[in-house]
Structures are given as C-alpha cells and as structure tokens.
Amino acid sequence: MNERQKLMQKIQACCFVLTETGLYLDTHPSCRKALRYFEKYRRMRDEAVRQYEQRYGALTYTGADTANGWNWVTEPFPWEA
C-alpha cells in the first residue's frame, strides 16, 4: 500500500467512526463518552483530510486546488482504482 492509499484508508476509518458514532448520538444525544469519542475522531479526520488534499487532490469542492487549475476533474474518481 502506498502513502496515498494509507492516508485514504485513515480518512475512511475516521469518517466511518464519525458515521457510526453520529448515528448512535442521534438517539443518545447526551452520552458523554460517545461525544468525546466523536470529538477525538473528528480532529483526526480533519487533519488527515487536510494532509490528503494538500498532497493528492480534492475530496470535495471546497478542498479543490485553484492555484494550478481545477484539480477536481484531473484526479481519478474512486471507482477507477
């Protein structure tokens, strides 16, 4: 697995934690343990996304590079792997 794939896997893992924990929090909105857990992985996710977009291209519109052309449509789509 190359560096790009490793960082993507980290983002996928963090985002899945946020999906799963967020879903749990929908019906347990005052669970402090889950809230702390969510916060920990949100920070981890934000940092991983920042690194990924800087090195490998946009994950969303708002992360697209504008200094060197619109890289939203130059990098591969996920099913091209």
Binding site: T60, W72, V73, T74, E75, P76, F77, W79
Partner: protein, 202 residues
C-alpha cells in the same frame, strides 16, 4: 460517498398552504422529468464515462439534483402544513391524502408513482449526454408550466430558481458533449463508443 449538509440550496419560506398546488408541483419530485429521476440518471451514468471532465459534470449536477429534490420536498411540505379536513376535501388533495396523509411520496401530478423507467443509461457517451440535455429542457418546460399556474410569490421564487438551474445544466451538458466529441473522429462520431470500445487517442 455523500455527506448531508443541513441547509437548502436556496431559501424557501412559504406562509400560505395550498394543497392543490402541492399536487401539481409534486411532479418535479416523482414525475417523468422530476428531480429524483434527474439525480439517478446522472449519478448512474458516471461509471462508464471515460472522460473525467464529463464524469465531473455528471457527479456535480447529479449531486445538485439531490439538493433540488430536497427543495421540491420542502415546498411540498410547506404547502401542506396545518390543513383541515375541509380544506383537504375542497382542494382535491384528498386522493393523495388517503394514501400518504401529508407525507412526501414521489408521484407525478397525475398520481403515478415514480418509475425508474423515466431515466436512461445507455452506456454511450453521445446518447447519454443527448438524453441529459433533453431531460434538462423537459424539466425546464415543466417548471415553465408550473410558473403559469402559481400566484404566490413565496412559491414562485424558488421555482424560478429551479427553472434557471435547468437552463444552466443544459449548457454544461452541452459543454460536456463538446468535450466528448473533441475526443472522437469528426468524420464519424459514431465510429466507436468511448464508453465501450478501445478508443484511439487523437
């Protein structure tokens, strides 16, 4: 993957309920040229599209159509708030009400439930983009027809926004078709299908 944003693409604030109008506007949710069909059409056409600029257009318009689906549903929900049984009966909304109460269910103005047959995925870049351009025009006409029937500016304003987006999407699909054609043989655009055949790069 997708992430939900808790905001509408364009503000909607309808004060006066109008269930009769809701029954017409619902066609842009579940009708033959509605937003549900639009989003499914573009998002499903992406996977065999070999040009990333075009894949980008399909992804981005398909995603925006999901936001339009939410806008139409918001209009419907606001038009059917606080109804009395008398209003439901008088307005002709009773035929919908009996099956769905005031829930949002994708049907056409004539009450036909949404059908995936409304959309096309041919797996051929020229055919699919031509279908997409036609689809945007048909949706634009549906909005034009609705605007003829709407008096309330609170309803008309977001409908006009949605109509305008159909025009813009038509333009972008036109650009996408040009991008595809530039990659093909101008003497015979149909010589090969870039979504299936191995294309000789120009």
């Amino acid at each position: 993957m997708w992430i939900y944003e808790k905001k509408l693409e364009y503000p909607i604030n309808i004060k006066k309920p109008d269930p009769k109008l809701a029954q017409l506007i619902i066609s842009q949710l579940g009708g033959p040229d509605g937003e549900l069909g639009a989003s499914m059409r573009y998002l499903n056409q992406r996977y065999s599209m070999p040009y990333r600029q075009v894949t980008g257009v399909l992804t981005d318009i398909g995603t925006e159509e999901l936001a339009h689906l939410e806008m139409v549903a918001t209009i419907l929900s606001q038009l059917t708030r606080n109804l009395t049984p008398e209003e439901i009966e008088k307005s002709g909304f009773a035929t919908y009400f009996v099956d769905h109460t005031t829930g949002v269910y994708p049907v056409s103005a004539a009450g036909v439930p949404f059908d995936m047959k409304y959309i096309g995925v041919k797996g051929d870049a020229i055919a699919d983009l031509s279908e997409d351009m036609a689809a945007e025009q048909k949706a634009r006409v549906t909005y034009d027809n609705l605007i003829r029937l709407i008096d309330d500016p609170d309803v008309c304003d977001p409908i006009r926004f949605l109509r305008e987006r159909e025009v813009v999407h038509y333009q972008r699909f036109g650009d996408a078709l040009r991008v595809v054609q530039e990659q093909l043989d101008a003497r015979n655009f149909y010589g090969w299908n870039p979504e299936f055949d191995k294309v000789q790069k120009k």
